[in-house]
């Protein structure tokens, strides 16, 4: 199960090479078929192949993707013919209808992360633009262009479907398993390092921080893998419930380990028995971690029983008042430490024998995975992208119709794809519109280079074999690096158009240099229009997204503490659990320069705290019903809800308006009151035997509130250390 880093690298490299081979062969085959059938625009067949295989697919995904591609292409071609034939003579109606259709298509593409169906909208948009931009200058050929476009798309799809099964499919289970195993290994190292720090009495160091960040990144990758698989692989969907369970367990272990990081436990102040218990627990955890990857390790029930025995001992000491000599803050720290260890142990039991769990597809049938949520509400961010998509199409159609720019057929499609690629980048691990103009400049330089290389190569491209060799090499390189790159990078878009230009030149007859320059200019103009509008109108910048997501987290956390009849607890809990991951995803792309990399480190410290706050508040909500039954404790604990709400409201404002809100309300008073309460609960315990039965439960309940208060204080400290004002504006062209 465990693999050396070298072997892992070899394995992943093999995956990339296989993908590159598939793209290369499918591209060459599609061109051969398109030319053999004498199709008018053969360049769209390899274009289809490249777009279909942009992300290395899992089993089942290509067929589904191809189906939606066929549907989308037919819809787009029909709409294109209808608009060009009927409304080209009345530009206002023509552009308005195009704008509306492209708005809807751009909006729906944003929902591609949760379902595969929006892929059809993407194809509708692309096909409509291609048909309109080609037919706008020759409206009498609208039907012919639409049919050609549809035929070439089908050729591309067929080529992908033929080539894909020739190679062994990518194994998503193995990928998930390797990633999960590696995350657990790292968590084991972190746990040991944390416990060592506690024993040595040293604070957490930069190495631990790096370890935490690395685990967080792995969690994000697991999340993306799950999301992609839920959408793409029919086979994988059967296992989704097990995989979600595993992902949640790893996440819970991560939270528990990060809880250990924050402890200020005085090891020397603990009595010898408690220290021995902690060491015994560490030993059990060590065996539990080893069990995760092995199929023939210790029986998980033995470890569970061993830990339960230790847990019972601690509980007994609490009831007997044997820990009363500890100061209240140390007792609270002990309890938190023990809770964290218990949390890790519980999750390790569910993670034990991970390979076997992933093999077990029968269990998957019993574990029902909830269907992906359908987007009921209209998402404001997607509406913005929709408007930009529509606007960019209309502007580029206007440019080609009224300014007669060179390379007209490429401009609208390049412009629209530039908007779509840059606007939906952040969730896929790319920095959105940050540095969009710089990328555009690089693309222009790339275009100049391509034009010069094509000038030299064009005479040789008339040889069929040479042409195919060049095409294969470009597609191979594209497939290799595209599989290696997370998300959709701008260079991928450039390469797709490079291939289209290369084939579109038709080198069987002498090619004038102006044709090459016109094509490159057309693509560059399209990118310029797309990037300018995307960057100019409501740009998506990671720093703004971070603040907005954190403010949303505060709003959701506040809702947990409010008794509102119409608010669904499960939806709030799900928001609280997903938002820290969104913040982590955006934080990963924040480090554009050295200053922002420093800020990124602080955000990385903040994320586990937010995760724990969300988790802890949900726990408070669940315990609230029980504590209200206690006449004395209920109102006392309720008084803290108001403090927490006020604080969360202030934190929300702090992130929403970084310039105006400088300080957060102090929670020190609440923390002191809770510590006093804990001291009051523990001290009389051995004197009043009658009160001992309920004392530990009450203590733990009060302790839960103390944990929230301390987490909030830590969150406030980290938030205050962020220099939000300095990067809350618009940055990086």
């Amino acid at each position: 199960m465990r693999q050396a880093p070298g072997q892992q690298l070899q394995w992943s490299d093999r995956v990339f090479v296989v993908n590159a081979l598939k793209v290369g062969l499918a591209g060459v085959l599609s061109l051969f078929v398109a030319q053999a059938l004498r199709l008018q625009y053969p360049e769209w067949a390899p274009f289809t192949v490249m777009v279909l295989m942009m992300v290395h697919p899992h089993p089942g995904s290509i067929a589904l993707k191809s189906l939606f591609r066929v549907v989308g292409t037919l819809a787009g071609a029909s709409l294109g013919v209808w608009l060009v034939s009927d409304y080209l003579s009345s530009p206002i109606v023509f552009l308005s209808l195009t704008f509306l259709i492209m708005c809807v298509a751009s909006y729906k593409v944003g929902q591609l992360s949760s379902a595969m169906a929006p892929y059809a909208y993407f194809l509708t948009g692309v096909t409509l633009i291609i048909v309109e931009s080609t037919a706008i200058t020759q409206p009498d050929k609208a039907w012919f262009i639409a049919l050609s476009r549809a035929e070439e798309t089908f050729v591309g799809i067929a080529a992908v479907l033929i080539i894909n099964p020739l190679f062994r499919p990518r194994s998503p289970r193995l990928e998930f398993q390797q990633l999960a195993r590696s995350a657990v290994d790292q968590l084991e190292q972190l746990t040991n390092a944390e416990l060592q720090h506690l024993k040595d009495g040293t604070g957490f160091d930069a190495q631990v921080m790096e370890g935490q960040t690395a685990v967080l990144r792995k969690l994000l990758t697991l999340e993306s893998l799950l999301l992609a698989e839920r959408r793409e692989s029919l086979y994988f969907q059967g296992n989704i419930a097990i995989l979600q369970k595993i992902r949640n367990s790893i996440r819970n272990v991560f939270q528990a380990v990060s809880e250990l990081t924050r402890l200020t436990l005085d090891w020397q102040a603990l009595n010898g028995r408690f220290r021995k218990e902690l060491e015994a627990a560490q030993d059990v955890l060590k065996r539990g971690f080893a069990n995760v990857g092995r199929t023939s390790g210790d029986d998980p029930s033995i470890l569970e029983t061993a830990f339960q025995r230790l847990d019972d001992d601690i509980s007994h000491w609490l009831r007997a008042g044997e820990l009363q000599e500890l100061p209240p803050d140390q007792l609270a720290a002990c309890l938190r430490c023990w809770n964290a260890l218990r949390g890790i142990q519980n999750e390790l039991v569910s993670l034990s024998d991970l390979p076997k769990q992933l093999q077990c597809s029968g269990e998957a049938a019993q574990l029902k995975s909830p269907p992906p949520k359908t987007q009921g509400k209209i998402d404001r961010r997607l509406v913005i992208v929709g408007v930009k998509g529509g606007l960019v199409t209309v502007v580029s159609l206007f440019l080609i119709e009224w300014l007669y720019l060179p390379g007209a057929s490429f401009i609208p499609v390049a412009a629209w794809l530039a908007v779509i690629f840059t606007s939906y980048q952040i969730p896929s691990g790319r920095p959105g519109h940050v540095r969009a103009f710089r990328n555009l400049l690089l693309m222009v330089l790339y275009g100049i280079l391509v034009a010069l290389v094509l000038l030299i190569l064009t005479p040789f491209l008339s040889n069929y074999w040479f042409m195919n060799l060049i095409l294969f090499c470009v597609l191979f390189a594209h497939g290799y690096f595209a599989a290696k790159t997370p998300g959709l990078a701008f260079w991928m878009l450039g390469t797709i158009f490079l291939v289209s230009i290369l084939i579109g030149l038709n080198t069987q007859k002498p090619v004038p240099f102006t044709d090459i320059v016109d094509s490159c200019l057309g693509v560059t103009t399209g990118f310029t229009v797309g990037v300018t509008i995307a960057r100019l109108v409501w740009p998506r910048l990671p720093q703004k997204e971070l603040n907005a997501a954190t403010a949303r987290f505060c709003d959701a956390a506040k809702l947990v503490l409010v008794e509102k009849p119409g608010v669904s607890v499960s939806s709030i809990n799900s928001t609280l659990s997903s938002l820290p991951m969104d913040i982590a995803r955006t934080t990963a792309v924040l480090g554009v320069n050295s200053f922002l990399r420093q800020e990124q480190t602080k955000w990385n410290r903040l994320i586990p705290v937010l995760m724990c706050i969300g988790d802890q508040l949900s726990r408070l909500k669940a315990n609230r019903g029980e504590s209200i039954e206690s006449q004395e404790l209920g109102p006392y604990l309720d008084s803290f809800h108001q403090d927490f709400r006020t604080w969360l409201e202030a934190l929300g404002r702090f992130f929403r308006r970084p310039g105006s809100e400088r300080t957060l309300p102090s929670l020190q008073g609440a923390i002191d009151r809770l510590k006093q309460k804990i001291a009051g609960l523990t001290l009389p315990a051995p004197l009043h035997r009658s009160a001992q039965v309920s004392a530990p439960e009450t203590l733990i309940e009060v302790h839960e509130y103390l944990v929230v208060a301390e987490l909030m204080r830590l969150c406030g400290d980290i938030a205050a250390s962020l220099r939000l004002v300095e990067y809350s504006g618009d940055y990086f062209l």
């Binding site: 300018t532 740009p539 300095e726 990067y727 618009d730 940055y731 990086f732 062209l733």
Partner: protein, 69 residues
């Protein structure tokens, strides 16, 4: 430079003066924004890209006017 036809003749390749002015304006605007970013002053601008495009156009026009003086 041919004054009656404002174009630069570079080895027979005619480059219009407006294009040169545009490139100069663009480069100066880029440098100004880079300096502002270096000192984190762009936070006072509502929209950096709008500022940059406006500055490019302004400087290009200014360069064009200065050359034609």
């Amino acid at each position: 430079m041919n004054v009656s036809h404002p174009e630069f003749d570079i080895l027979g390749f005619l480059v219009p003066l407006t294009l040169v002015a545009g490139v100069v304006g663009f480069v100066i605007a880029w440098l100004i924004v880079a300096i502002l970013e270096r000192f984190r002053l762009t936070r006072f601008l509502g929209n950096v890209s709008l500022f940059f495009i406006a500055l490019s156009v302004l400087l290009a026009g200014l360069t064009d006017w200065l050359v034609n003086l």
